[in-house]
């Protein structure tokens, strides 16, 4: 039974594609919260809009719907009160829109650090209020000490703060504080042309630029009831798999490097560089930024492009099996990764954790298969799933996905159709669209409303990291502080994609 059929009095909204959206009353909203808390549905997004909040859910049968609740006096019943994965999303709504989740367990601001010079920038913006020091969660017990880390870290990574409380070497709690790279992307998108908004989407998380561009383009195309040409769709998938491959290769080496096994890092970095050079040769940019645009793609594969890609596929196939063997047979490395940083399958399911974080802990979800968008609906691939949920499992999921991506790239090249690269876009009146795309770290959700003139009225981008970051806190418990970088790298959550 579909999600909305369960809710009495749900008012369907016209012009929302491809999945339905409905306005629900308080009883309907509470029904949804109960279904989430009971584990029947999965929370896939929760965001603010003018005068209301939207919730994207995935039902028991995998059907997708958006529920809208009109805020009364700027309030809505808290989802986080009964369903913890919603807590940070609600805190973000409170920071950006000023709406109050009634009954919420955690009233602290999330993205707003008190220095914007404005409050509730996406709602009824008000003047800045006096800056209140941020209070971390209390800890009790004997012989505890705290270690504050960040926002500036020792390596070349993104900024965020981690507050460790430890007993000796053992972490009893880590609390994340994020929002440092909040750039106000959703505010910049409001009123922007599609071209400008697409550029912003492409820079939401640079490592997933293709996935974001594709998700944004697909949401716009769904809203405007357009189809990108077949060749463009295949080229998008080609770029998405190159992106996945480059990131996974980089991650596998980087995880090993954080266990002080530099040889693997050196070897996978060579493979990653070869992949990026091929991307540049084929699409004019190493990360393929701005190559996927609403309506199609901006760049075609050059005449020798297929040859370039097949050459690096051969390169990777030659070296990679030996590296896997090296990973699997180095006892000192296994000692660091096996049973370290365990995500319990229950948490992965409850949080709807996507990507290798979820799949390493038994959550069998991949947007390429579960949402099944073209061209993956006609391609053959496996979705690897493990149960252990430790660093080792997250490495192995990546290893298997590298193999799958190589096979997908070959299938795409074999089937690549000829034809146009882009269809023209023209305003078709106000409309709404949403899309999921599987980035290397998990599913990206883009929700988009266009105004009558074809400009962006509201766009929400939800990174997979929203449902993975909280699990880092759970996974590190009872591990030693020195293993935190290893655990964190094995998650490789996005800061920029989360902070927006």
């Amino acid at each position: 039974m579909s999600v909305l059929a369960n809710i009495a009095g749900a008012q369907p909204v016209e012009g929302h594609r491809p999945w339905p959206r409905a306005v629900v009353d308080e009883a309907g909203w509470v029904h949804a919260i109960d279904a989430l808390a009971a584990g029947q549905w999965t929370l896939s997004g929760l965001w603010g809009d003018a005068g209301c909040v939207h919730m994207a859910v995935i039902g028991a049968d995998g059907d997708i719907a958006v529920l809208t609740y009109a805020c009364h006096d700027g309030k809505f019943p808290s989802v986080g009160a009964k369903h913890p994965p919603a807590v940070r999303l609600e805190r973000a709504i409170a920071s950006l829109f000023g709406y109050t989740p009634e009954g919420a367990p955690d009233p602290r601001p999330w993205l707003d650090h008190g220095v914007w010079g404005v409050t509730h920038p996406l709602g009824s913006a008000g003047p800045a209020q006096e800056r209140v020091p941020y209070t971390f969660l209390p800890v009790e017990g004997e012989a505890l000490h705290q270690v504050p880390v960040g926002p500036v870290h020792a390596g070349i990574i993104e900024p965020g703060h981690f507050r460790f409380t430890a007993n000796g070497e053992f972490v009893v709690r880590v609390e994340e504080r994020l929002g440092y790279v909040h750039k106000g992307i959703e505010s910049l998108m409001a009123g922007a042309t599609l071209d400008r908004a697409a550029q912003l989407a492409a820079r939401t998380s640079g490592d997933s630029t293709v996935a974001y561009s594709w998700a944004f383009a697909a949401a716009a195309e769904a809203a405007m009831q357009l189809q990108a040409p077949p060749r463009a769709i295949y080229l998008r998938a080609l770029m998405a798999e190159i992106e996945r491959l480059a990131n996974h290769l980089g991650d596998i080496g980087a995880v090993c490097n954080d266990a002080s096994f530099a040889l693997m890092h050196a070897q996978t970095s060579i493979l990653r560089e070869r992949v990026l050079r091929a991307a540049e040769a084929c699409f004019g940019h190493r990360l393929m930024m701005d190559a996927v645009v609403p309506g199609g793609v901006a760049r075609d594969l050059p005449a020798n492009g297929a040859q370039t890609i097949r050459a690096f596929i051969a390169d990777v196939r030659k070296v990679f099996p030996r590296l896997i063997e090296l990973y699997d047979k180095t006892a000192s490395l296994q000692d660091r990764t096996v049973t370290t940083g365990i995500v319990k399958p229950d948490y992965a399911r409850q949080f709807g954790a996507g990507g290798f974080v979820g799949r390493a802990a038994g959550r069998n979800f991949d947007a390429r298969r579960n949402v099944s968008y073209a061209p993956y609906d006609v391609l053959t691939f496996e979705v690897p799933v493990l149960e252990a949920g430790d660093v080792n499992a997250r490495v192995w999921i990546r290893i298997r996905e590298v193999e799958q991506s190589l096979s997908l790239l070959e299938q795409i090249l074999d089937r690549l159709p000829q034809g146009d690269l882009r269809v023209g876009l023209s305003a078709r009146g106000a409309c709404e669209g949403m899309a999921y795309r599987e980035a290397f770290r998990g599913d990206v959700l883009v929700w988009l409303r266009l105004d009558a003139g074809g400009r962006v009225a509201r766009c929400h981008l939800r990174d997979a990291s929203w449902f993975q970051w909280p699990l880092v806190e759970a996974a590190i418990e009872n591990n030693i502080i020195a293993d935190f970088p290893l655990c964190n790298k094995s998650f490789n959550c996005s800061y920029s994609g989360h902070d927006l």
Partner: protein, 175 residues
């Protein structure tokens, strides 16, 4: 493991010749450096990096500088973990208001003489994020910048060319 290591010894180096210093960057730097500072540093610079709000694209390319093809350290350039050990601060991203203070504190923690390299289009003027309520501006709006390396993101060759230019000027031979 032994096979992999042995093969690396016999297959020749992947490392490519370093690019010539970026001419434009050289001109920009010539104005910002003093002779006294040059003499002190020799031909080696320690770099501390701060992401002040980037999308992470620039960080990926900075990471690539360490791979076998570019091998940054052979040029006497290395990334260090603390600003107190650093001569050069590389900064990416538009500076978000939430990162402004952390950037200032990092800069203040570095000993003199020091140089600031703004990496990428956002670091110059905020790039596509300019004008947001959450963005303080380019790096130069917060701390003085000695060199810009353009690009979105700059590729490793561009990064290398910019840093080599810095080395040529900042680290010009000790006598």
């Amino acid at each position: 493991m032994r096979r992999t290591l042995l093969e690396s010894l016999t297959t020749g180096a992947l490392t490519e010749p370093a690019p010539a210093p970026d001419r434009a960057a050289l001109a920009e730097l010539a104005q910002s450096l003093e002779r006294a500072a040059r003499a002190r540093l020799g031909r080696s610079l320690s770099i501390r990096h701060v992401d002040a709000g980037s999308c992470n694209g620039c960080e990926l390319e900075l990471h690539a500088l360490a791979n076998a093809f570019y091998d940054l350290e052979r040029l006497g350039l290395r990334f260090v973990a603390s600003p107190r050990h650093a001569d050069v601060l590389t900064v990416t991203g538009p500076v978000t208001k939430n990162m402004r203070e952390a950037l200032l504190r990092t800069y203040d923690a570095m000993p003199d003489p020091k140089w600031v390299v703004a990496v990428g289009g956002c670091a110059r003027d905020g790039g596509v994020f300019a004008g947001s309520y959450a963005v303080a501006g380019g790096v130069n709006d917060v701390i003085p910048v000695d060199l810009h390396i353009p690009g979105c993101p700059p590729n490793p060759r561009a990064l290398l060319a910019g840093l080599v230019a810095l080395l040529e000027t900042a680290g010009a031979r000790k006598r």
